[in-house]
């Protein structure tokens, strides 16, 4: 479509300045032509190609047209209107303020600086949260790259450009029987290279590439121009980022390289898990992956190369289902005179919940009251107290088999226990809370909402209330 003139009108919108003239589309500022106030600033995206230029050119616009209309939440631009695809194709959406990650990268490149580790963790977790919100809506972005990540001034991330995305509820117009690679060469996941579309872990790979880029200023796999070049990532590990930048902590490399695992099953099972790690770096278990600076040995690459040669397309399950199978389970462990029976029953319930879900992660939490710590006495200093309680939580978890589950321990301070538990669950995309049912106050429950009742009422997710009971043989002791 030819460029629209500023001041002209289209379908009730007045065209403003052209903000972006890309290879695929023009983006214009727009307002309502009847001077009605809009609830937020708006832009219009108009593809360069029209239906007359051949259907395949307009397919990605058609995909975005379809998907943007059904996505919800703060991590996507709000949809306003769409023109008829065949006659006047356009999309009007919210003009989200902020800088793209690409602009941030350019700034660093110009200034010859690198992003601070804390900033990278913050940005990384904001991107992961945005991706998780898409995955919960059965959508995989599949073209995450710095130009499509917008950092909103309030700290959250808005994802742009859904032209290569895949919504599991709709036919995928970009899929075809020959299974071509669809994506941007620098950020595309290995499985996308062989034509897999719809695995949320492909987005996690792209986030890994962006974090690598942000940390080192370099692309882990370069910017290959051929399918053969893109196929390299099916078997090759990139140079460890700590080799390129010495001050990177081991945990950061651990996170980035886990995102960049060639096999999707070895990456974070969901973006919520990735956000969790970036928000609790002190809890990350650093493996060889995080420590190495030399790179992967030739023999390992060769073995993977042989495996990758046979890699082919497999259909993916619904993204929301896939991420539901690897939940974050939170257990609230009481620290004040807990009965053996309660501690035992909580453990049993957690073991059952995790046992059904390989890859699920466990957050062990206790809530202490803020006036327990004292700034003057050493034994009661905040760090000493937290260490004591953390050790208590670790001892509680000792009998659990956590080899298949990432586990972390958290001491929260709050005078309102229920509120602290609910806020923590909300803030970390927790899928299930396990906690004691507080039988002592049961008679009073009708009049006073006890902690478990309050949590059950206000929690964003499933709550399992555990009643204390010991196994028969232990009662006999």
């Amino acid at each position: 479509m030819k460029r629209l003139a500023a001041g002209s009108e289209l379908d009730g919108f007045r065209i403003g300045a052209c903000l972006h003239a890309g290879g695929m589309a023009h983006i214009y500022e727009v307002s309502y032509a009847d001077d009605r106030a809009a609830p937020f600033e708006m832009v219009m995206k108009v593809p360069r190609m029209t239906a007359g230029d051949g259907a395949e050119n307009i397919v990605s616009f058609e995909v975005e047209h379809q998907i943007l209309q059904v996505l919800q939440g703060t991590h996507v631009p709000r949809f306003v209107a769409a023109g008829d695809l065949m006659t006047i194709p356009y999309l009007v959406m919210e003009h989200v303020p902020g800088l793209t990650l690409q602009q941030v990268l350019n700034e660093h490149a110009q200034q010859r600086t690198h992003a601070a580790v804390s900033d990278m963790a913050r940005i990384g977790s904001a991107i992961a949260r945005a991706a998780h919100s898409l995955h919960q809506q059965n959508t995989c972005h599949l073209d995450l790259k710095p130009a499509n990540v917008l950092l909103h001034p309030d700290g959250h991330v808005v994802l742009l450009d859904f032209g290569l995305s895949c919504h599991a509820h709709y036919p995928d117009f970009l899929a075809e029987e020959l299974r071509k690679a669809v994506g941007s060469p620098a950020w595309i996941a290995p499985e996308q290279v062989v034509g897999v579309r719809g695995d949320p872990r492909s987005d996690i790979f792209a986030i890994g590439v962006m974090l690598y880029e942000l940390a080192t200023g370099e692309l882990p796999f370069g910017n290959p121009q051929t399918t053969g070049g893109m196929r390299q990532r099916l078997w090759m590990d990139p140079a460890p980022p700590r080799r390129l930048r010495e001050d990177l902590p081991e945990w950061f490399q651990e996170v980035v390289l886990r995102c960049l695992e060639p096999e999707a099953a070895k990456r974070y099972p969901s973006a919520a898990h990735l956000a969790f790690d970036l928000e609790h770096p002190e809890q990350i278990k650093v493996t060889k992956r995080g420590k190495q600076v030399l790179g992967t040995p030739f023999l390992t690459h060769l073995k993977r190369w042989l495996k990758a040669a046979g890699m082919h397309y497999q259909p993916s399950p619904l993204p929301s289902q896939q991420i539901d199978e690897v939940p974050i389970v939170m257990v609230a462990v009481p620290h004040h005179e807990p009965s053996d029976a309660m501690l035992y029953s909580l453990r049993l319930s957690v073991a059952r919940s995790l046992g059904l879900r390989p890859g699920a992660r466990l957050a062990v939490v206790t809530v202490i009251s803020p006036n327990q710590s004292s700034t003057s006495e050493h034994d009661k200093s905040e760090t000493t107290l937290h260490r004591q309680y953390r050790t208590m939580l670790q001892q509680w978890a000792q009998p659990l088999d956590l080899s298949q589950h990432q586990t972390s321990y958290h001491v929260l301070e709050s005078s309102d226990v229920a509120n602290a538990i609910v806020r923590y669950a909300e803030g970390n995309n927790v899928s299930m809370i396990v906690m004691g049912a507080a039988t002592r106050g049961l008679q009073m429950q009708r009049f006073v909402a006890t902690t478990p009742i309050k949590v059950a009422m206000e929690s964003p997710c499933t709550v399992i209330l555990v009643k204390p009971s010991l196994p028969f043989e232990r009662l006999m002791d």
Binding site: A51, A55, E56, V59, E62, Q66, L85, M86, A168, H169, Y170, P171, D172, F173, L174, A175, E176, E177, L178, K180
Partner: protein, 254 residues
């Protein structure tokens, strides 16, 4: 215009009424019955009567293979071990009046409305009752129908499951497994072929009745699953003395 697409009712009045009520509640403006009104189920005469009055009100009603199967009344005379299907066909024959049988016999095989071609089985050879069950057979039906440039959608039944095939980026058709209740954008600049499932005899392990709503203005197709009193339908099959297999089939949806 919102079309309710129903097929393979198979004498199941409970399921038909549940789907019609569901469609009405969802704003359906025109009904299309894509064949196999009878066979297997306990209420062939009632279903035919219902479809006749729908037709009088403007509904589309097409002929399926079972409408042919029940025409002959001595299917089993020369067959010492008749199949379950032909046993019910003979029973059904006797449940219907000659006028009803004649009405079924002269129903059309296909009809074209707006950009849709409706057919019980495959549009290339409607009278041969070939199944549209994969990308290849879907392609045969779609290509034949789209020889008429007006046609962008082919809707059929016969296979008792819900599927949608579309043209993706490549030359071959792509199969898509729809999720019930989700409106799927089906823009008419592409070509689409759907099997809308069976109202009266689901076979995918879920006893809920299947049908679809197509909004030709919004260009959206929604596949539905509707709960109905399938136990009562199964009981009626038993009480009519029809083979136990068909009663169980309604109970399990298999």
């Amino acid at each position: 215009m919102k079309y309710a697409l129903l097929s393979d009712i198979h004498g199941n009045l409970h399921a038909l009424d549940a789907c019609l009520a569901h469609a009405q509640a969802h704003g359906a403006e025109r009904i299309a019955i894509l064949g196999d009104l009878v066979g297997y189920g306990a209420f062939p005469s009632e279903v035919v009567a219902r479809c006749q009055s729908l037709q009088n009100e403007g509904a589309i009603v097409l002929r399926g293979n079972h409408e042919e199967l029940i025409q002959s009344h001595h299917i089993n005379a020369r067959n010492l071990s008749p199949s379950l299907g032909s046993q019910t066909a003979e029973w059904t024959h006797h449940q219907l009046s000659p006028a009803q049988r004649f009405w079924l016999e002269i129903l059309p095989l296909t009809v074209q409305v707006e950009h849709m071609l409706m057919v019980h089985a495959s549009a290339d050879v409607p009278e041969r009752w070939r199944y549209v069950e994969d990308e290849r057979t879907a392609s045969l039906s779609l290509d034949a129908a789209c020889a008429n440039p007006q046609v962008r959608y082919v809707f059929g039944g016969h296979v008792h499951h819900q599927s949608l095939y579309y043209r993706g980026a490549g030359r071959q058709l792509m199969a898509f497994k729809p999720t019930g209740g989700i409106p799927i954008p089906t823009p008419k600049h592409r070509q689409w072929i759907a099997t809308i499932g069976s109202v009266g005899q689901p076979r995918d392990g879920n006893p809920r009745a299947m049908y679809a709503l197509f909004d030709s203005t919004a260009e959206k197709l929604t596949f539905h699953r509707v709960a109905y009193d399938h136990r009562a339908a199964a009981r009626a099959v038993r009480e009519a003395g029809l083979p136990e297999f068909f009663a169980q089939r309604l109970e399990t949806g298999k």
